[in-house]
Amino acid sequence: MNREQLMDALGQLDDSLLEEVDQLRQAKPVSRRPLLRLGLAACLCLAIGAAVWAFPHLGTPPSDSNSTGSSGSGANSGSSSGIYIPPASVPEQESGISSDMSALFIYQGRCYVELSHTLPSQALLGSPLGSCTGSIDEWTQADGYTEGSGTISGTFYSLQGYDPTHLLGIPLETGEVQVFWNNNDLTLTQGREILSEMFHLDQDLSGIDVSQWDSSTSVPLTDTTCLDTLMTASFQPWNAPNQPDYRLTLHTFQGLRLDLSLYEGGYVTVEGLPSAALQLDDGVYRQLYNHIQEVLS
C-alpha cells in the first residue's frame, strides 16, 4: 500500500461521515474562546493528571525556588502563604471513549501545557532544549509518561528573554510558534508571579484588549493601569459560579498574549488556571468596570 492508494480509499468514505463534517465546515465561524475556556479547564486536569502520574513527586507543595511564589502550606488554603495549584487526580479512562486532550509535554519533570495564543513569528525562538514525542494519548499507560513524552511531537525551544522553567515554544509549520507554559505544581500568592515573573508584562506590555465574554470583537483599553492593580492583587481559591463578564487579552511587544477573565465582584482568572482567582478591591473593580463599559459602548 502506498499513500496515494490510502488517499484514494479515503475518497470512498461513507456519505454520512462526510455530511457530519461538512456541517461543521459550512457553519459560520465563531470565536473558539468560550469552548476553549471549557476545554482548557478540562485539559488542565488532564495535563496535571498526566504530570502527577508520570512524576509522583508532584502533588507535594514545593519547598525550593523552582516554584513560582512562596511555598504553600496547604493545598488551596487561601492563606497569606499562597494558593497551591496541585496536580489533580488522574482522569478515569473509559474504554473506547476519547478524551479531549490539550497539547502538552514533559520536560525536566515539569508539565508544559499550551497557551491559547500562538506567537505570530519565530523571531523569539531561542535555543533548542529537547524534543518530545507524540506518544501520549488517552490510552497511554503510566509508564508511557516519561521525560520527553507528550501529546505533541516536535523540538521545543527556549523563548529569548524568558525563563525556560516557565515558558517554552514549539515552531509550527505555519511559521507561528505554539507557546507552552508550566502552569501546575506551583504556589501563587500575587498576580505579579504570573504577569511579571513569567510573562514580563510589567516591562513589555504593549496593550490590553477587552471584549464581552461571548464576543470575538475586542477593543483596546485606553487606560492600562489596571495591570498594576492585578500585579499586587492576591490569589484565592476559585470555583467559577458562572460565566465571566469580560475577557482581557494582554499583549507584549514580543507577541505573547495572555487571556484573563473578569467576573462580577472583581475576580480575575488567568487562562489555564481555573481554580485560582485574583481579587481586586471594590474601588478598583468599579473603576475598571466603568472604564470597560466606556470603551465598549
Partner: protein, 184 residues
C-alpha cells in the same frame, strides 16, 4: 432549489440541472479542488469535469445528499488531474502536504497492490470509531484537504492541538491497518 429537485432534473435529462448545481455548489466544489490543485485554472477545469461526470452518473445514481456526491467526484477528478501534472507543480498544495502526512500510515511495500475496496471499507470502519472531534479533523484534513488552520478553526481548537490529534490519529490508523492485515 432542494437537492432532490436538482437530482430530478438530472433524471429528466434537463440541462437546467447543471445550472442549478453550479449555482448551489460551485464555491463548495472549487474549495475542494483548490485544496488539491492549488491553481485556480486547474480547479475550474476539475469542477467543470465534475458537472460533466455528474451528468453522466445521474441516472443511474440518485444521491440523497448531492453535496457529498459531487464532492467525491471533484476530489477524485482533482486528484487524477494532480497526478497528471509535472512533479514541480506538485508542491505547495494542501493535497501534497496531506500525502506527506499520510506516509506515516502506510504499512507495507509501496509497490504492493492492495484490494482498494477492502482498504476503503477498513478505513471507513476506522473513521467511524473515532471520537467526533478526531473524526472531524481527520476527514476535514484528508478528505477535503482543508488546511491545518481551517480544520483547527472549524473544530474550535488551536492549530497545535489539531496537529497533535491528527498525529495521534495517523498513528492509530497505521496500527489499525496492521491489525486488519495490511502488513508487509
Amino acid at each position: 432549489m432542494k437537492d432532490r429537485d436538482i437530482v430530478a432534473l438530472y433524471w429528466q435529462r434537463d440541462q437546467e440541472a447543471i445550472w442549478h448545481t453550479q449555482e448551489k455548489y460551485h464555491p463548495y466544489l472549487m474549495k475542494i479542488a483548490r485544496g488539491i490543485l492549488g491553481s485556480e485554472e486547474d480547479s475550474q477545469e476539475s469542477v467543470n469535469d465534475t458537472y460533466f461526470k455528474a451528468w453522466n452518473a445521474m441516472p443511474p445514481h440518485r444521491p440523497t445528499v448531492l453535496s457529498t456526491f459531487l464532492g467525491k467526484i471533484t476530489r477524485q477528478v482533482s486528484i487524477d488531474l494532480w497526478r497528471r501534472r509535472n512533479s514541480w507543480k506538485r508542491q505547495g498544495t494542501e493535497y501534497a502536504l496531506c500525502l506527506d502526512e499520510l506516509t506515516q500510515c502506510t504499512v507495507s511495500d509501496p509497490q504492493e497492490e492492495v484490494d482498494a475496496q477492502l482498504l476503503a471499507q477498513t478505513i471507513n470502519r476506522f473513521v467511524s470509531q473515532l471520537s467526533p472531534q478526531a473524526r472531524a479533523l481527520f476527514v476535514g484534513r484528508y478528505f477535503y484537504c482543508d488546511s491545518l488552520k481551517e480544520v483547527a478553526s472549524y473544530c474550535h481548537m488551536s492549530q497545535g492541538k489539531a496537529k497533535s490529534i491528527l498525529f495521534r490519529t495517523r498513528n492509530r490508523l497505521r496500527n489499525y491497518l496492521i491489525e486488519e492485515g495490511f502488513q508487509p
